[in-house]
Amino acid sequence: MSNGVIAIAEQADGVFRKVSYEALSEGKRIADALGQELTAVVLGSGIEALSASLASYGADRILVADNDALSEYVTDTYTHVLGEILAKEQPAVVITGASTQGKDLSARLSARLGASLAMDVVSIRVEDQNLVATRPMYGGKILADTLLLGSPQMVVIRPNAMTRTESAGAGVIERITTDVGERQLSFVEKKLETGKVELTEADVIVSGGRGMGGDDYAVVEALAEALGGAVGASRSAVDEGWRPASDQVGQTGKVVSPNLYVACGISGAIQHLAGMGTSKFIVAINRDPDAPIFSKADYGIVGNLFDIVPLVTEEVKKLKG
């Protein structure tokens, strides 16, 4: 009999991703609806103390696979360890975050376990002991209600889409000592863009498009910093080589839903809107009063971004001052 909800909590370099807390909170809600237990699973190296903190998100048990060989995410080792854990636990539901790691791991695991999977889910409900997941398709132009069958049922939730709720759980730690399996992939090196807020997890994003006119993003960066947010870009700006591909927001870039999205010098093409249309609040700054972005923005300012944006930054600083 399958039983229980397993939330896979992703950590990188000793810090949990924000979406991991969202996955636990949502996992707890589903577990309560099913009348079952919530178990958190953490993989990594030197992570036991960190893992204990998940008790405050409702975890009844916390399974910790602490192993030097798991210090970096590599698909084959992580899939092997999780595959063993899930085969033993036989959960009804597996929930995790749709980070790049979560998407990759869950896809491979779903095939290994023969599990139904819904990717990039924005809301979940329980119907007759099965999950119905709402997820964007066609780059966010459509929302699909998808019924999951069989067991386990895997839901991979979009960062920033669900709320993080603390609740006390017993948090009993169990150490997992399974081996990491046969390795076909080897980790060579990692390069981090230091100090950058990951776009998909940012509360505020300030994006610059072709209207930036070049690779000098100082005005946009200053506003992002004042708001405690991240810098994004349109595809045109990326194509021009002004910004790295990892900054691209849109149907073929990152899909983001921050509390506040500020589009500077972005016209609002359908592919761009697909990537940021679910932002809670949108501000557009564009010198063309007919730019399509204004029809999606909560507030718009018509004007030259190089005049407006620095003044907005100043006002924000005064307010936060």
Binding site: D104, A107, I142, I308
Partner: protein, 260 residues
């Protein structure tokens, strides 16, 4: 090198998507269909690898006969052969079923590398590539932005949240593409002419040793498609000067919207 590219035909990204009367599929009349943008990266990368290591580039697509247009475009870009899998039993199949079909097609063939997109921009599943690799029991590397093949190994740079990592894998392996990998070429006119006579095999489930029963019922089912809530145009912040507009915007964001 024997390279296989997994290709899906999808609506062009500038399409307006309309829900069909059945409520669970989309209207396909007037829809412009193209090669999934991430699969274009896959074709381009395969062609560049072939230019270095020689061999063959074969495109595999599961879909209806419409899909042949997309396969022909890939052949026009320079791929050598196409395989189209079509079967009535595959209508409405989910990602894992598609992956099983592709894996069954590849199983008897000899290959060094399979390249897929990291997602198809219609269903946005992010699932078929890793699932094919799992069924074939070969390693996969997702979100690849750079690769080199040497000494029977492939070294890949892949994106992660907040950076990149470098991984090495034995071959055969499967890669999924990420933006930044390359700039896909456009089909040339002679390429388009040549494509017409390149081999395109059409196979059904029986040809790849599968049947509807073995595949089973899909584990996911779309109950309904809905349009996201329409965003309404908000308010243009007016003002005599840029200063006034900036002040009014920040006031509104703080007082009215309460987002800062």
């Amino acid at each position: 090198m024997e390279i296989y590219v997994l290709l899906k035909q999808v609506p062009a990204t500038d399409s307006q998507i309309r829900i069909a009367d059945d409520g669970v599929s989309i209207r396909t009349d007037d829809l412009r269909l193209v090669i999934n943008p991430y699969d274009e990266f896959a074709i381009e990368e395969a062609l560049q690898l072939k230019a270095i290591h020689e061999g063959t580039v074969t495109v595999i697509s599961v879909g209806t006969d419409k899909t042949q247009e997309a396969i022909r475009s890939a052949l026009a870009m320079g791929a050598d052969k196409g395989i189209q899998i079509e079967d009535p039993a595959l209508a409405g199949c989910d990602a894992l079923t598609t992956a099983k079909v592709i894996a069954a097609t590849l199983q008897p063939l000899s290959f060094d590398l399979v390249i897929a997109g990291h997602r198809a921009v219609d269903d946005d599943n992010f699932q078929v590539g890793p699932a094919v690799a799992e069924y074939l029991d070969i390693p996969h590397i997702p979100f690849v932005i750079q690769e080199t093949v040497a000494d029977g190994k492939i070294t890949c740079h892949r994106t992660i949240d907040g950076g990149t990592i470098v991984l090495e894998s034995s071959l055969p392996a499967l890669l999924t593409t990420q933006r930044g990998l390359n700039e896909p070429r456009l089909p040339s006119l002679p390429g388009i002419m040549k494509a017409k006579s390149k081999p395109l095999e059409v196979k059904g489930l029986a040809d790849i040793g599968l049947d509807a029963e073995t595949l089973g019922e899909p584990l996911t089912r779309i109950l309904s498609l809905n349009l996201p809530p329409e965003r309404k145009a908000g308010r243009i912040i007016e003002g005599e000067s840029p200063e006034e507009k900036a002040v009014a915007l920040v006031e509104a964001l703080h007082g009215e919207a309460r987002v800062i």
